[in-house]
Symmetry: D2
Subunit: 436 residues, 4 copies
Amino acid sequence: MIPRYSRPEMTEIWEPATKFRIWFEIEAHACDAMAELGVIPKENAAAVWKAQDVSFDVDRIDAIEAVTKHDVIAFLTHLAEIVGANEARFVHQGMTSSDVLDTTLNIQLCRAADILLADMDRLLAALKARALEHKDTVRIGRSHGIHAEPTTMGLTFARFYAEMDRNRNRLEKARWEVATGAISGAVGTFANIDPAVEEHVCAQLGLRPEPISTQVIPRDRHAMFFATLGVVASSIENIATEIRHMQRTEVLEAEEFFSAGQKGSSAMPHKRNPVLTENLTGLARLVRSAVVPALENVALWHERDISHSSVERGIGPDATIHLDFALTRLAGVVEKLVIYPETMLANMNKFRGLVMSQRVLLALTQAGVSREDSYRLVQRNAMKVWEEGKDFRTELLADAEVRAALSEDEINEKFDLGYHTKHVDTIFARVFGQPA
Amino acid sequence: MIPRYSRPEMTEIWEPATKFRIWFEIEAHACDAMAELGVIPKENAAAVWKAQDVSFDVDRIDAIEAVTKHDVIAFLTHLAEIVGANEARFVHQGMTSSDVLDTTLNIQLCRAADILLADMDRLLAALKARALEHKDTVRIGRSHGIHAEPTTMGLTFARFYAEMDRNRNRLEKARWEVATGAISGAVGTFANIDPAVEEHVCAQLGLRPEPISTQVIPRDRHAMFFATLGVVASSIENIATEIRHMQRTEVLEAEEFFSAGQKGSSAMPHKRNPVLTENLTGLARLVRSAVVPALENVALWHERDISHSSVERGIGPDATIHLDFALTRLAGVVEKLVIYPETMLANMNKFRGLVMSQRVLLALTQAGVSREDSYRLVQRNAMKVWEEGKDFRTELLADAEVRAALSEDEINEKFDLGYHTKHVDTIFARVFGQPA
Amino acid sequence: MIPRYSRPEMTEIWEPATKFRIWFEIEAHACDAMAELGVIPKENAAAVWKAQDVSFDVDRIDAIEAVTKHDVIAFLTHLAEIVGANEARFVHQGMTSSDVLDTTLNIQLCRAADILLADMDRLLAALKARALEHKDTVRIGRSHGIHAEPTTMGLTFARFYAEMDRNRNRLEKARWEVATGAISGAVGTFANIDPAVEEHVCAQLGLRPEPISTQVIPRDRHAMFFATLGVVASSIENIATEIRHMQRTEVLEAEEFFSAGQKGSSAMPHKRNPVLTENLTGLARLVRSAVVPALENVALWHERDISHSSVERGIGPDATIHLDFALTRLAGVVEKLVIYPETMLANMNKFRGLVMSQRVLLALTQAGVSREDSYRLVQRNAMKVWEEGKDFRTELLADAEVRAALSEDEINEKFDLGYHTKHVDTIFARVFGQPA
Amino acid sequence: MIPRYSRPEMTEIWEPATKFRIWFEIEAHACDAMAELGVIPKENAAAVWKAQDVSFDVDRIDAIEAVTKHDVIAFLTHLAEIVGANEARFVHQGMTSSDVLDTTLNIQLCRAADILLADMDRLLAALKARALEHKDTVRIGRSHGIHAEPTTMGLTFARFYAEMDRNRNRLEKARWEVATGAISGAVGTFANIDPAVEEHVCAQLGLRPEPISTQVIPRDRHAMFFATLGVVASSIENIATEIRHMQRTEVLEAEEFFSAGQKGSSAMPHKRNPVLTENLTGLARLVRSAVVPALENVALWHERDISHSSVERGIGPDATIHLDFALTRLAGVVEKLVIYPETMLANMNKFRGLVMSQRVLLALTQAGVSREDSYRLVQRNAMKVWEEGKDFRTELLADAEVRAALSEDEINEKFDLGYHTKHVDTIFARVFGQPA
């Protein structure tokens, strides 16, 4: 985890103190259930809750683990120091470390997902606000980086909204995938612990019981979770790339907000670089790098091995922390993006009407010219604009073969911008619901 | 695509003939919609359907493309050769190549998903049948490759069933992701084509209209699709790994079916190798290799670039064809897997009762021995079994400190196998629903 | 493998006929060595060479394999059909399938590498030619997509040359990695075959004997090979990205060659899209997708398993064929790239002198102004250019605080372009060696 | 970076204090070179060295960066606070942040590589020692997890030695790749800084000047570096997988060292799990996850963008720290691995002579039986061993068809173990050089 790209809210989920707190809750709820079943005395279950308001001593637990080389045993030893050895003697009975570790991991991932969902809400709100603000701000659409036909800045934000909204749905599904817990004992047979314990613990902690576990919760769930984060990260890269393009000197249709004290370059003081979106491009790569190891984690040996564990110690915090930071950063960029509608217009007019070529092509076809001939006629005039700097409309009006098919009025009508924006409301209604 | 790992049913989806057939249907339905709107004459729309029963000449289209360097124009030229240049002159009006290409890709992916879902149904049926067959076949559970506690072979199949069933749900969602079509024209503004055309074409072809497209259908959809295939592949690896372990000489609890004429090794005639599951392990890697490029495809420049296209020409067929083959192969392996219950019993007894150590540990704790002492007592006797080949039960019975806590009957009761299988029905009910 | 992105020269390496030809050569050379050692009769070794000029019947071999489910045995059966069962009876003696398969794979990879090296030579020649041609063509350098300071088009080509030259060296090393053969028999102990056979076969086929093999040649070699291809692919993406940027409408400093009959867009006839470099961007992703599975192939079980095989059937041909195509396509793009020096100049002057800001900053510092003050002075004037469209030199000349430190002549001198190109020859000498 | 999987020696390289120390050295050496060239006063260059023995105040620098949002400017401001604003005013003159950052990164990577090389030396020594120790310890070789023919434990270690030795060579090459520095100024033209400065700084810091840089050092170098780490990690997984297999209950030919206080399982006290090698398997996945983002980092926009930076802040420390830990852990595992030669013998004899089948096959062929018949004869007897628990030698001696070709003595001779180990010395000489 890179501290520079982290926010405390998310980082806290992955701190040892949080982990031990969750471990405690699992053990304490399990004791309650066992007491309810009559497997252990109720007073022992009640005694465990004495540790409820205690801050566990992370250093002490580490010290014990240095000897036992086993983290859960170290924690249980420390818990017994707090609760009392005799009172604590039924804690963890019939359970295995994985019951605690895997249920904890899933709780952490669910909490992380909740933050990410909230991040997305902020981002979605920003995208929607900018989309509505620039619904009719005309801008040239580009395919292959080449001017194509007019579109609007609002449509650009609207499509990012739609994409991120899909990601929100995906993330909800991904959260659902990992919202399970398992207290099924060694190799998952419940031989030493009643399934009712699992049910109680899961109910208390907002999880579903894992239908069938094998000491570990199956890792296809986590693979799906991290794969989904990888898709979200790729969408961030998509939006960031658009903004980087908009800010490049020759385009300059928008700029990341540039605060007063900020320095763009140690050598070139005038430069305002899209460093936030470049950074997001890199962060997307980092988050995506969690996907393949998560997929490799699915195939464990027999009822479990521990190869997945070190991977998850890395990608669990890293992918969620960096994605949280990236979503938040992107929301800020979108909220404060400085947009230049005049430059958009200027850019669109760079090639003197050429962007209207398809309309002319269609008009020729509809006027009875063959597809092949129409294409040839339009290309002939387009090339004069492209190569000789001529004006497209003027050339068309002067082309006898064109004029044989289209009148002056008909040609002029093809250069009306409103033609291209007439369905913007339709699209907005599709994306944001019916307009008020 | 590796022919050796393909099945014709899936391969056919990706053949040029299928592609051109879908292109034709999109264009023809689009003409119908345009005629309905009065944009083009109804007789022209009707004329296009003359090509309905024609097999398109793939070589001819390739020859035209060699000149135009544009595949859709090549197809349209050929279509005009069939339908008549005049009749065909409104075909593709207001549309772009991407309208056709992207809608086609999604249709192909949906059809591929349908086959994969059927594959999964066969695999699920096989897993369920073997699970029920071996519900009570006792087998040692292993964590870290080391004997842990007893489980049953049925539980192994049941967990694979549950995992693959999750994958089936994921794949349905992934299919839903890509079940969209777009006929929105250049840069997606519908400037030259009415949204009603898109709606009609999608309705005819079983797709939802893409709410907002930009000439291309957004690639986060496809990223999610291929990421899901990667998860499915990883589960295949998981199952394959289990079978490879079962077949290894020292374990030999099961073997892939070995047909009469088959040769295991050119040098060692007795060998029966788990080559099918080893192959599946490799195929899983291949399918997974589609995930990262699919994620990299999400960020396109502005309203579209074509960098995604070559990637999809590769991973589209490859990932679906190899996954189809792998699911089918795995279903066959599971259906015909030769299972050796006697070896399972023999393996379990290899360490003379040691697998019951946890039960003894629990019993000591419940008899009032401290956790630490219980652990020490059990480990002391366990080590004699492990290192000196003693019998665990005999050692426990002879250990005075143990006997101070547990009677002979109590110790003997700990070695009852039924203790470990008592919740198998509960788990089966969770996985397969309530028993009949 | 995608036929559209393949060249016959490379494809041929991976065809069954080539494979069987190499298998034959390995077996025949091995027989020679065994005969030389007196292990088999010389006449039997000689007899095998009867098949030297025979085209093996791929369909026949496939038919036999359909029964034996073992490809090498199928081939040997077919070979015996040609050579005579009695004459052929010592063929493959003491060897395993892997001896043949692995040595063959490495021969194929070496041949593939040779083609790739030749491709690189063509690309390097093109890059060098264009570098020399445009050594002094001034162009704005851009960091973050933002104008920074002047550079030259030749330096752009020169850095791509240097990068691709490094890749050439890497690929030579990668070829060396896989230029080994193994004829070491089951589990690699040479129990049934003398090491002298391996030495002879390798010498005849241009390989080094694998120092220690385990039936298979260790896969770290192949991991390194494919990882290197991934680096080369990434450099192709790097060059392709630069060209895509150069061609975008607002920049337009260069264009991919556009042949007469070619159509850029079915809807917009004027468009000339950088489709070749976009395609290369996608191909880079495809080639890179071979890296992870190649890394996953390294860990095999014990002396070998066959999980790597299906992976290599995919990535072996695919990665080399697509990379060959990509290198060749890129060479063509570079050779024929249409470059617009006038646009480069126009772009550079877009912000009226602002690119010289660093020189002014330095001059102020050297004239005794503090770093902080210098930065402030430059930024103050730069912002007027950026935001108000002023001319940078004019503003500086009018800024009293600046003029207190720098004279008119000193300011004017800062706008000399030669200042920026004065070390181009030095850099060219570093990259291409001393100038003639 | 996961603290649990880190060693202070490597972690220190990536700490802010180390980074600032290197930044200082670059700046100070650059000042020396500029003074030597007469570009700045010698006393200013000398003054900078006043900070030589100062510990830079990381918190102070962070505080400045919080305002300037630029790390190098923050450092330079702090340096001026130490050296004196007037004395420091020529520091960084003509340079860009990337000159400092990229040269620093490469120094860190070189230092990291040096540690990794030392780690490998320890691992190589351990592998060699264990190889020599168990050169003649006979063990069954396994292909597909199935018993094949005898080999020795020494050969297993020897092949891991050879593989890791190749990795050592690769890592040396990878280190060479990144052992460059660049002080070439904005967009890399040396416009504002003489190439002699770069040469001096690089010479002082053990680097080669980057022949052509573009403000940044080209990232194909780093891609190659991290790809190489990925290969090394995969070899670690390979060795770890072998040990995990050896330790599994049914095989038990070796065990990780198990210290006295260590607890294998919280529930099953007898268990000794191969947790270190399982952990290494996971760490290998983590290190490998750096490869793809490093490849994605190669394509930067124009003369540079900063998308690579966040990636490198992650993978730079993480991949080197975790690989260092993994190599060290693996060396410890190998050094202390508890090996059970008796179990190896027992395992080999599990199938009563079957592993000698190939020898018999060869003998039959050489005695004039056709290949096909020989295979049939051997398989017939092998199946009796496999399926009916018979002894292979006994069955062969009793098979009239076999005896027609081979005498009793000839058959008995085939069961001599020495036959399989006769070339071990040859292989050892290949791997370790000629024996003393």
